[in-house]
């Protein structure tokens, strides 16, 4: 019986074998040693579409999605409202089923979209140039760190406290064999003095997340100038770039490299992926950048057009001397971010940021009214903050879940330093009523 994904029919196959001059398909595989062929069998039945959909639906229904809860879980992945148009526009077959536009004449649409993406990211971050995407925030940061090491030929990286732990772990993995020494400062290092005291002559770059993992605002012009004076590059990591709608862009503050996670730009939470890494830089680093770059040029009749450019940095040309090994990237996610930003516009993005900020500050004020709940930090924050709720009952998360709440990120997962911390995030999707109810339920839960 034919299969919908296998267009060739038995007759066509026979005719093709005949043209090739072969009797049986097995002959085309006879170069494969027979011992290998014999063991290649495995057990896997076929399912029709309805059966397949049923099985996956069953898996899906075994989960409790954050989006159906009143969720305060952020900690690196941020639920925001996604305009309905995004799915329809990004899902068009011409985008979805194409590959990297190696043949520019045939794919001017994709190339222009990526060019617009680069432009939007550069504008938003205040940088000269952005590439066409990285796998995600953590890998984008790891690549930026490697870039800084290679560019400066120095061998130390200082990472400010409050880096997203996912990013921290990925940087660790990526740099393990690079010769770079990474100094991850912990929040505990802070009180002992400025993190700047850890900079040395050998410091290639300083990594600063802003807002940091705890939601804190830490990036200032002064800080970046000092780093520059110390001879190090500054790499700013942004985990929710909707913040750029109301925060001064790192480029304007003097950052050298700005990288981050742009999932917040229209990508669903989707259990952590696919997401979208972005990487923006000062012009100086242009030829050291990893990843695809789309450039504007002209055709032989003088018409404007777009091509993949500066490919001599890339693995398919430079092989082991390439700036990175990245090949397939997050093209469709970059397209989604572009559509998201086009729909939101400056007013929309500002509203998202402002509403998130207002909600988080309201929640903070209400939570810290509960006697046992203390703020962890006394620092300005964006849309996320850490509190110490005293001690949590053992089944706290289950109890709150049963009441319809995901009460944020359990900071004990971040570090044993936090005996009972909660990191709480609010997007524009939270309402006053939800937050009030949450505070009531939380207080009830804490009084065990």
């Amino acid at each position: 019986m034919g299969h919908p994904y296998l267009p060739l029919t038995a007759e066509e196959r026979a005719q093709m074998l005949k043209t090739i001059g072969t009797e049986r398909i097995e002959e085309l595989f006879k170069v494969i040693p027979s011992s290998i062929q014999t063991s290649a069998v495995f057990d896997l039945p076929a399912h029709n579409e309805v059966e397949t959909a049923k099985i996956f639906n069953r898996w899906a229904e075994m989960n409790t999605p954050a989006t159906k809860m009143v969720s305060f879980l952020g900690a690196g992945a941020y639920e925001h409202a996604i305009p309905a148009a995004v799915k329809y526009l990004a899902g068009q077959a011409e985008f979805l089923t194409a590959y990297t536009p190696y043949q520019p004449e045939m794919n001017q649409g994709l190339l222009q979209a990526f060019f617009e993406y680069q432009s939007l990211i550069a504008d938003l971050t205040g940088m000269d140039v952005a590439n066409a995407s990285m796998y995600d925030g953590p890998t984008a940061l790891a690549e930026a760190v490697l870039l800084a090491g290679n560019f400066t030929r120095k061998n130390e990286i200082v990472v400010f406290p409050g880096l997203n732990p996912e990013a921290r772990q990925v940087v660790q993995t990526y740099t393990r064999h690079s010769g770079l020494k990474i100094r991850f400062l912990s929040p505990a290092d802070e009180p002992g003095g400025s993190p700047l005291s850890f900079l040395t002559e050998q410091t290639a770059a300083v990594v600063i997340q802003n807002p940091d993992f705890f939601g804190r605002l830490v990036l200032t012009k002064e800080l970046l100038s000092t780093i520059k004076e110390c001879g190090a590059l500054s790499i700013v990591y942004i985990n929710d770039p909707t913040s750029l709608a109301i925060l001064e862009p790192p480029g304007s503050l003097g950052a050298d490299l700005v990288v981050g996670e742009a999932q917040a730009f229209g990508l669903p939470l989707s259990f952590g992926g696919p997401y979208l890494g972005f990487l923006a830089a000062k012009q100086t680093f242009l030829r050291s950048l990893p990843g695809r770059l789309v450039g504007k040029t002209t055709d032989l009749e003088g018409r404007e057009g777009f091509v993949l450019t500066l490919q001599t940095r890339e693995q398919h040309i430079r092989r082991e001397k390439a700036t990175s090994n990245i090949c397939s990237n997050q093209a469709l996610c970059a397209l989604i971010a572009t559509i998201y930003l086009s729909l939101l516009g400056p007013a929309g993005l500002q509203e998202v940021a402002r509403s998130s900020v207002r909600n988080s500050h309201y929640l903070f004020s209400q939570l810290t009214r509960i006697p046992s709940v203390k703020a962890y930090f006394n620092t300005p924050f964006f849309h996320e903050f850490a509190v110490d709720p005293g001690s949590l009952p053992p089944d706290f998360f289950t109890k709150m879940k049963d009441r319809g709440f995901f009460p944020g990120y359990d900071l004990r997962r971040y570090s044993p330093d936090f005996a009972s911390g909660l990191l709480l995030y609010t997007s524009e999707l939270r309402s006053k009523e939800e937050m009030d109810n949450f505070c009531t339920e939380l207080e009830g839960c804490l009084a065990w």
Binding site: T22, A60, P65, A77, A98, Y135, F306, T309, I339
Partner: protein, 484 residues
């Protein structure tokens, strides 16, 4: 009615005050943002996003779609990329609220279905490749390579073999292989391909030594040829103290026919966006899960999914692990699609996929070698590489032929790769073809050969049917304009 001029940039049609979306607005008692965020942090630089209505955004991206070309538009025999048909059901499944709405850091108790699915995907990939354990974390093929090489490094280091600093890579390999090796701090030594297009054990032998960490091998290789001596090769490397990595980008040739795990490979990455029909998305996202043999399982990235009496859990307690290579757990959405594809075909169907892919490639090879030069003239696997026209035409090169194809509505093959074949055209039809389609492609290719001889100008000036003509790539690189 596709217009010739490029659609105006979003920025160019932006008009102050226009809105494309109204997000929800906070309903808590109003406080000016300035009271919440201290002044030094507040944006002073103008925010210059475009201002457009939903209709304008829609028309813009529709216009861009009309100037793009995917598998759904026509034949796309881009070698090494396995541009097969992307079934539509696959798009539905990751959008189920029970998948799409999951935050990666939810309590494990609330994501049992997702963990079960992921764990099952690991098992299925193991069965298909003959490996023992899989990580789903890598975001793409190259990322899988990086992961695999980190594992090799970790294993060797633990064995006290950290002196092994060299990875052997055939000259036909994809650029990501050497680049990945370099990223992990390995030296790269290039192994030449034999005149038969494969690696000969004899050729390999001189490279083996105490510095060798391992070999990265694509099988079938990028010439579309199965490494016939694979069992000897992997044995040699093992005996020399190295590990063997399989670049699994070409798995579409051998599903159900051969498993890298049975060839002596220690580890492998899969390209889900190639072999398992998840759409390429204009360049991504893909996914590059890595499978390993038992002895390497302890080095896989953290966390690993484990069964416990309380259900599926993330296990971080893996002291030998290389660590994390990516945020969270990999491209969940892509993995769902790949697994749904595999489920619909089953073992028999997957084997037929490879049978048909190989059949289609051989059919094209048989007919095209009449007019194009086939440097390795032997039955191929799922793809083959031509080296320009048989009857060389000085005025016309592979680029011209590729551009000529465009005017016939066919996406050109991969060109000028692998690097060892001059004027290479790497053709991979995949199984998603009909005989009619293949015959029409052959006819077009023959017509191009005729044009090359009789009207070379027609090819030099191709394409003509596209919104832009041939683009000045040199200018783009010389004076880069990377933003509006």
């Amino acid at each position: 009615m596709v217009k010739k001029e490029r659609p105006a940039f979003l920025k160019e049609t932006s008009t102050p005050g226009r809105r494309g979306y109204l997000p929800p607005v906070s309903d808590v008692p109003t406080v000016p943002t300035g009271d919440l965020i201290p002044q030094p942090f507040i944006r002073q630089t103008a925010l210059t996003l475009p201002e457009l209505s939903e209709m304008e955004v829609t028309r813009h991206f529709n216009a861009l779609a009309q100037r793009s070309f995917g598998v759904d538009q026509g034949f796309y025999p881009l070698g090494s990329c396995t541009m097969k048909y992307n079934p539509k059901l696959l798009e539905d499944l990751p959008q189920l609220p029970g998948f799409q709405g999951l935050h990666p850091l939810q309590d494990e108790a609330t994501v049992q279905g997702a963990l079960a699915l992921l764990h099952h995907a690991e098992e299925v990939f193991s069965a298909i490749t003959g490996m023992d354990a899989f990580t789903l974390q890598p975001a793409a093929g190259a990322h899988g390579e990086l992961t695999g090489l980190l594992i090799i490094k970790a294993a060797l280091t633990e064995q006290g073999e950290s002196g092994r600093d060299t990875i052997l890579i055939p000259d036909s390999a994809h650029g990501t292989n050497p680049a990945s090796a370099a990223l992990v701090g390995f030296k790269v030594q290039t192994v030449p391909t034999s005149s038969a297009g494969v690696i000969e054990p004899e050729t390999l032998k001189p490279y083996l030594g105490p510095n060798v960490a391992g070999l990265m091998l694509t099988n079938p290789n990028t010439l579309g040829l199965f490494e016939e001596k694979i069992l000897s090769i992997t044995k040699m490397i093992h005996e020399a103290g190295g590990l063997v990595y399989c670049d699994g980008a070409n798995m579409n040739a051998i599903l159900g026919w051969a498993r890298p795990g049975d060839m002596g490979f220690d580890l492998i990455h899969l390209n889900l966006h190639k072999t398992f029909a998840t759409p390429h998305g204009g360049g991504g996202p893909g996914a590059g899960p890595v499978g390993v043999k038992k002895h390497l399982a302890k080095y896989l990235p953290v966390p690993r999914i484990v069964a416990t009496p309380e259900g599926w859990r993330w296990n971080y307690d893996l002291p030998h692990s290389i660590g994390k290579v990516k945020g969270y757990w990999g491209h969940f959405g892509v993995i769902i699609k790949a697994l749904a594809y595999i489920y619909q075909l089953g073992y028999e169907g997957l084997k037929q996929v490879s049978s048909d892919a190989v059949l289609a490639a051989n059919y094209l090879q048989t007919l095209l070698k009449e007019v194009y030069h086939l440097p390795y003239d032997t039955p191929c696997m799922h793809e083959f590489v031509l080296s320009g026209l048989r009857d060389k035409q000085p005025a016309v090169n592979t680029l011209d032929l590729a551009k000529g194809l465009i005017d016939y509505g066919v996406h050109p093959p991969t060109i000028y790769f692998p690097l060892i074949v001059p004027e290479a055209m790497m053709i991979e039809p995949t199984e998603a073809v009909t005989l009619e389609l293949l015959n029409s492609f052959v006819a077009i290719m023959k017509e191009l050969a005729r044009l090359a001889k009789e009207e070379p100008e027609a090819l030099k000036s191709a394409p003509r049917t596209t919104p832009v003509r041939r683009l000045n790539e040199a200018q783009a690189a010389r004076q880069p304009v990377l933003k509006w």
